[in-house]
């Protein structure tokens, strides 16, 4: 389980996370929602140890991430896969090399085994026919599918998604949504998704948390979250309807 207690983080002169407290339960998909720029991606980077919180505690399977020594952090990171916003594929490598990279660099499997696993994961995300393509030849949705395969190749226990559908057209977003759903069914992985996409949230979430003003202000199961009245329902539905109405009136 991933557990955050009183996490505080800020950049010089700009506080971002004030007091984040949340438990990410095993084998479920938790979606953290909140408006853009509120610090959702920062929270993911704190979990993975890429950013160090100024206060609070983050534990993964009971091991402390904040202030962990380099070796300990590397061991923790081996249990985590992460999908970055734009996929973060390596431009100089083909799709196959991108996915094989973690295994090849650490020499953690034989050549045959690497080939088998790369093909299996590319097949899982529906990208097996693009093994020789370079990232610049792929659409945004395809890049993210390859990035998921790369994140999965080390068979992590936790998969973190940073705005997996941001900037995608509805059709590509739907493909990414179905892929996340399929991975949930087939992999039994604990997933943490940060997004402001209501459709994605409805489709994949087991639990939903609302981040506002650097805090988790509501945390509920999917059914409860979309029931009226609830803070999450209000955030999603009422804000959207109000903004649409305002824009409509102005128009």
């Amino acid at each position: 389980m991933i557990s955050a207690r009183g996490v505080r983080f800020g950049f010089p002169g700009r506080p971002v996370l004030e007091d984040i407290t949340i438990d990410i339960e095993e084998s479920l998909t938790t979606v953290v929602v909140g408006r853009s720029g509120i610090g959702k991606s920062v929270f993911l980077k704190c979990i993975t140890g890429l950013l160090r919180p100024q206060a609070g505690s983050i534990t993964i399977d009971g091991e402390e991430v904040v202030g962990a020594a380099r070796g300990q952090l590397l061991a923790i990171r081996r249990r985590i896969g992460m999908l970055f916003q734009e996929g973060a594929l390596f431009d100089s490598m083909s799709v196959y090399e991108n996915v094989a990279f973690p295994l090849m660099y650490h020499k953690s499997a034989s050549g045959k085994e690497i080939d088998r696993r790369v093909r299996a994961y590319l097949d899982l995300v529906g990208m097996l026919e693009y093994t020789h393509a370079m990232p610049r030849e792929l659409s945004g949705g395809m890049k993210r599918k390859v990035a998921v395969a790369r994140a999965m190749i080390l068979e992590p226990r936790y998969l973190l998604y940073d705005e997996p559908t941001a900037g995608l057209d509805p059709a590509s977003a739907a493909v990414v949504e179905s892929m996340i759903r399929r991975l949930q069914r087939e992999g039994a992985i604990t997933s943490l998704v940060v997004t402001h996409d209501i459709d994605l949230t409805r489709y994949i979430a087991d639990r939903i948390a609302l981040m506002e003003e650097g805090r988790i202000t509501a945390h509920a199961g999917r059914e409860d979250a979309f029931e009226e009245p609830s803070a999450i329902y209000e955030h999603f539905i009422e804000n959207r309807e109000r903004i649409r109405a305002e824009n409509g009136n102005q128009g």
């Binding site: 890429l50 990171r77 081996r78 896969g81 992460m82 970055f84 973060a88 660099y105």
Partner: protein, 260 residues
């Protein structure tokens, strides 16, 4: 105005801190396993291919320019036969090293900054860290070592082009025959001149590559900031090349390395 000034000061402070921390990181990771042998090979090939053209052209231009200057003054003072000696001495001891390093900073240094800065911007460096791959080890060390190994070879190519164009110009313009040109040149050239210029070359490569990688590595912001960082990379590296050459020149004159 004062806000813009303080912002500029902050930017330069950040640039200074970025390069300084990269020196420490480089030596910290240099002797740790796994050594990036494959990436080193790839970077040597890349640096040689990207640097070859510009250093060869620079060599041709420098050779012609120095031969013309030496021949013109030689004619004026009736010592035209010494034009070969004067031009080759200046070329091999100073010009090809200095101008070669500047060309290297402009072509390869900026490429390193933009490449690593883009990787930082798109999250590729963070992706590496999450795969338990240290970016300094995987990205920076191969580029720095490849630069140290490649720039002296590129200088040798530049030297050959410079000597060739100097000989051709001296023959065509001042009617100095090739044997006369070389005979006089060999009277003043010592192997220590070449040795010290190649050592300087490797030093330039080290500082250029570390500065360029450091600026890309600690880059923050978007496209505009990446443009500014690239400009900083070339400015810092050109100043660095001049400072190294000055310090080396002073030390050389004190200890007499190139006249041993």
């Amino acid at each position: 105005m004062s806000h813009a000034k303080s912002e500029a000061v902050q930017e330069w402070k950040h640039a200074g801190a970025s390069t300084a921390s990269m020196y420490a990181n480089f030596f910290f990771w240099l002797f740790r396993e796994p050594f990036p042998t494959r990436q080193l090979g790839q970077q040597i090939t890349r640096v040689m291919l990207e640097g070859f053209g510009i250093l060869a052209v620079a060599g041709v231009v420098e050779g012609a320019m120095f031969a013309w200057l030496a021949g013109w003054y030689g004619t004026k003072f009736s010592v035209v036969n010494w034009a070969g000696a004067a031009s080759l001495y200046l070329l091999l001891s100073a010009a090809t090293t200095l101008i070669g390093a500047m060309m290297f900073a402009a072509k390869i240094g900026t490429a390193f900054t933009v490449e690593i800065g883009s990787m930082q911007m798109s999250g590729q460096l963070d992706a590496l860290r999450l795969m338990a791959v240290e970016p300094t080890q995987y990205i920076v060390i191969p580029r720095v070592l490849a630069s140290i190994l490649s720039l002296p070879i590129l200088k040798a190519i530049s030297d050959i082009c410079a000597i060739g164009s100097a000989i051709v110009l001296a023959r065509l313009w001042f009617d100095i025959s090739v044997p006369v040109f070389l005979q006089h040149a060999l009277l003043v050239l010592r192997h220590t001149i070449l040795t010290t210029s190649y050592i300087r070359c490797a030093l330039h490569a080290f500082f250029i590559a570390i500065n360029a990688c450091g600026l890309g590595f600690h880059f923050q912001g978007g496209a505009i900031e990446l443009g500014r960082t690239t400009t900083k990379s070339i400015v810092i590296n050109l100043i660095c090349v001049l400072v190294i050459d000055t310090i080396y020149g002073v030390m050389d004159s004190v200890f007499g390395w190139s006249t041993l």
